[in-house]
Subunit: 313 residues, 2 copies
């Protein structure tokens, strides 16, 4: 307690979140939406933990808390403003506050429900469809009456995405021409492409977009390790003009203070508890394994939403 | 009159419009927003003409009319549904129904006023700023309190755009690095890029976009003559994610039936008559010169909105 300043909390880490956006923070700042990590300082991410000591009137010992600035340490001190209490009566496991109710799942919700102007009967293509964001987009889109085409990077992942209800799923590593595979899955074209990977996949999607199509530029995991020499150059930007395409990007932190956040928590936690929504966590055990757990994301080695378990509840 | 079926009109052509979108119609259909031209048939475009004969109750001999399906002929027959009467008491010359009140000017209005969520004090970059669309974007943006950076392809054009009120204008052909030139003109970055050219310029703009920036993908005139071998590949699509950029495209014909069309006509015709808006026409004389007049657009040989005069009022 002696080391706590006023309005601070000592947190013991339960789970840390591995998310592709952290890769940007490992580079020098490009003026983007998150600050770069400081060499020599611990990195941080979303996480879930237990309050072990508190000088804040808002938190007590034993509270389950979450936040976006959890240090990659077993215990750390944060300001009361950097954490949020997790309700203990929800029947949702702590790791799922990084999973089905976590930032990537909320990203799927905002991108699909608020951003892309979907209509029942439309066709949506989802890349990285078994991933932290993709698996939720697939289920939200099916629940709202869209035809869903998924892409994933192994046969196991393909089966998982089919099990989520997707109408057509292919293995993008073994399918041959991406452009032809998408065309075969959607001969009439794609209305919405939910892009979690960028690169060549974006070009293949552009070639298959219908008039007035929409692209949610959610992530570009295929490109985060690229150098100026190896970064993919998009060939088909002319199709944006020809087919009247809108490309949306959004900053998920802008949406936590909006009504959509409550809508997300209400809808998704209810559906999850009823079993109408599944959510696959990919749990790695041990803080010492966290760096590799993060790097694996950029080779598609995760299967579902990757979290690192640091200690037991 | 004998050759007219019911509800048809014989039109004598006064002016035809040269617009970059016609280039797409010279290629085989890519499923885009306009049908390809049919080899052996006359091509068509926007135009202004005089009714010489009519079996329609809506049009009489001598009416001044405009429409988007004017054949590239001296006289032609159209259905009454394909033309609109031009009010004769406006004090606006017939060619300016293809100019300041024409489709490209309306495109500027919709793209800037309705689409890009501009705010006073923001910085907008406009490529092809002396062109049919660009010259109007520059003036609309200045009138609404934005800082305007223009790019044009000759020193004469640069002077013209400065005369429209732009804060900083450069010659993109002689400026050296586009990316550096934009950075120098906007050290704090660009909030809105109004893209009339595509290609390398889009990459240079992306490198200078501020957080939450918006790109209006209005045209890609630099790419319409490109082949699959020569088409420019966009390097900086990762910045869409990093800086939370939205790229908007729109189909101008969707907007003629909306309230924004009346707002455009009211605002722009009033401002033009008062002299608060200028609009530069680039008039080529003679139907026989029309094909070259169109092709010139793809080399930036027009200066202002190019029209072809076919006959005298």
């Amino acid at each position: 307690m002696n080391s706590l300043k006023p309005n601070q909390v000592l947190v013991r880490t339960l789970y840390l979140s591995c998310d592709p956006y952290s890769r940007m923070r490992l580079s020098e700042s490009q003026g983007g939406f998150v600050a770069s990590f400081v060499p020599g300082e611990p990195i941080d991410s979303f996480g879930v933990g237990i309050v072990e000591a508190s000088t804040s009137t808002k938190f007590s010992e034993g509270d389950l808390v979450t936040g976006g600035s959890f240090l990659w340490e077993t215990r750390f001190i944060l300001s009361e403003n950097d954490i949020t209490k997790v309700p203990s009566d929800t029947g949702i496991s702590p790791a799922n506050y990084l999973g089905v109710l976590g930032m990537p799942s909320f990203t799927a919700y905002v991108g699909f429900v608020s951003i892309c102007h979907h209509k029942a009967g439309e066709t949506i293509l989802v890349s990285a469809a078994s991933g932290a964001v993709g698996q939720m987009v697939v289920q939200l889109a099916k629940a709202r009456g869209l035809r869903v085409i998924g892409a994933a990077g192994s046969d196991d992942k393909v089966e998982f995405v089919k099990g989520l209800g997707a109408d057509d799923v292919f293995n993008y590593k073994t399918c041959g021409s991406l452009q032809e595979t998408v065309k075969k899955a959607a001969p009439q074209g794609i209305d919405i492409y939910f892009d979690n990977v960028g690169g060549e996949f974006l070009d293949a999607a552009l070639e298959n977009m219908r008039m007035n199509g929409r692209i949610v530029a959610c992530g570009k995991v295929s490109q985060y390790n690229a150098t100026p020499e190896t970064v993919y150059h998009t060939k088909n930007m002319d199709i944006v003009d020809i087919n009247n395409i809108t490309i949306y990007d959004f900053f998920i932190l802008d949406h936590y203070s909006r009504p959509v956040y409550k809508a997300f928590i209400d809808e998704v936690s209810a559906s999850f508890k009823k079993g109408d929504i599944q959510y696959k966590l990919d749990e790695i055990v041990g803080l010492e394994n966290a760096p590799q757990a993060l790097l694996d994301l950029f080779e598609g080695k995760n299967f579902g939403k990757r979290v690192v378990k640091v200690s037991d509840l």
